[in-house]
Symmetry: C2
Subunit: 205 residues, 2 copies
Amino acid sequence: MEFSSKLLERAVNEMSQLPGIGKRTALRLVLHMLKQPKEQIMSLSNALQSMRNDIKFCKSCYNISDVDLCEICSNPNRDETIICVVEDVRDVMAIENTSSFKGLYHVLGGKISPMDGIGPHDLNIQSLVDKVKAGIVNELIFALSSTMEGDTTNFYIFKQIQDYKINVSTIARGISVGDELEYADEITLGRSIVNRIPFEATLKL
Amino acid sequence: MEFSSKLLERAVNEMSQLPGIGKRTALRLVLHMLKQPKEQIMSLSNALQSMRNDIKFCKSCYNISDVDLCEICSNPNRDETIICVVEDVRDVMAIENTSSFKGLYHVLGGKISPMDGIGPHDLNIQSLVDKVKAGIVNELIFALSSTMEGDTTNFYIFKQIQDYKINVSTIARGISVGDELEYADEITLGRSIVNRIPFEATLKL
C-alpha cells in the first residue's frame, strides 16, 4: 500500500497492529478519524493512554480495577468461600451479567498453552493455590473454555490443590437454552446426557 | 455491559465510536492493548494525535499530504490536462496502484447524498469547476462508485462544466478480468455488451 503521507502511513501501521485489524480496516478507521473533530481524537488517545498507564489489577483476584482491591473482592455481601476461576476479565463480566454467582473470582490471565509459550508461571496460579492453602476456600469452580488448553489448566490447578479438602467443580456443559437438539454437536449432546440433572432441580430455576 | 473500572469503560466507549467497532470488539482491542508494552500504546495514540493535528490536504487536488502541494500534483511528469475525479483518498491509492493513470486527481471528499445531508457545497466541487474554467483541463474522468449518489454527483458536475469544450468520460464498467460470465449480474453484463470495445484495442494492453 502506497501512502501519500507519512503521518497517515504511521497511523495506519499503528492501528493495524491491533488484533483482527488489517491494513484496509486500519485505513478506513483512520480516514474516519480525519473527518472527526480534533477533540474526539484527543479524547480517544487520552483514554487509551490513561487506561494503559493508570489501570490497576485487583491484588486479590487480578480483575481489572481502579483501586487496589476490586469492588467484588471488597463487597462484604459476597461469599468468599467460593471462587470461580476464569481466564480473563471478559469472563468475569459475562458471569456477573447473569447475576447467578455470589462468590469471588480469580482471573488467571490466560490458559496454559505451550504452543504460545505460556506456562503455569506466566499465569496467576500460585496465588490461587495460596488462597486454597490459607483455608478460607470451600469450593473452586473452573469456568475456563473447554479447549485442550483450558482442560490442561484445570488439571494443573487440580493437581496442586487436590490434597486440600475442598470441592472442585466445573461449569455445566450442555445444550444452550432454546437450542434444537438436532443441531447440537455430538460431544455437547453426549455430555448433556451423561451429566443429566434431576428434573426437580430445574423447577427451582 | 458492566465494567469493573472507569478507565476501562472510558477506553471501550471511545473505541466503540469508530465505525464498525461495537462494544465487544472495542473491549477485545482494549484488553489486548493492556497486555502490550506501554510504549506501544503511547506510540499508537501519538500517531493518531499527530495525524489528526498535522495532516494536510493538497491545496490543488485535496488528496491527503504532508506538504501543501501533494507529490502527484507537484510531479512534472504527470499530465495536468487529464483529471480523474474520485470520492476519497482510498480511490487515489487504488488507482495509483494500477500504474495505469498518469494524470492528476481531484478528491471530492464524498458524494452528493441528501439522505446523509451532504450537498454539493460540502464537497470540493467548486474548485474542480474552477480548474475547468481556467482552461488547462482537456479531459475529466469520473471514477465515482456507480450508486445513485455517485451518478447524481457525476451529473451535477457535468451540468456545471458542460459549456466548456472538454472531454468527459467515466471509467469502464464490465466483467472483471478472470470472472465467469454466468455469475455476473445482468446490469454489469448488459453494460459490458453495450460498451463493447474494438478487439484490436485489447491487443495493445
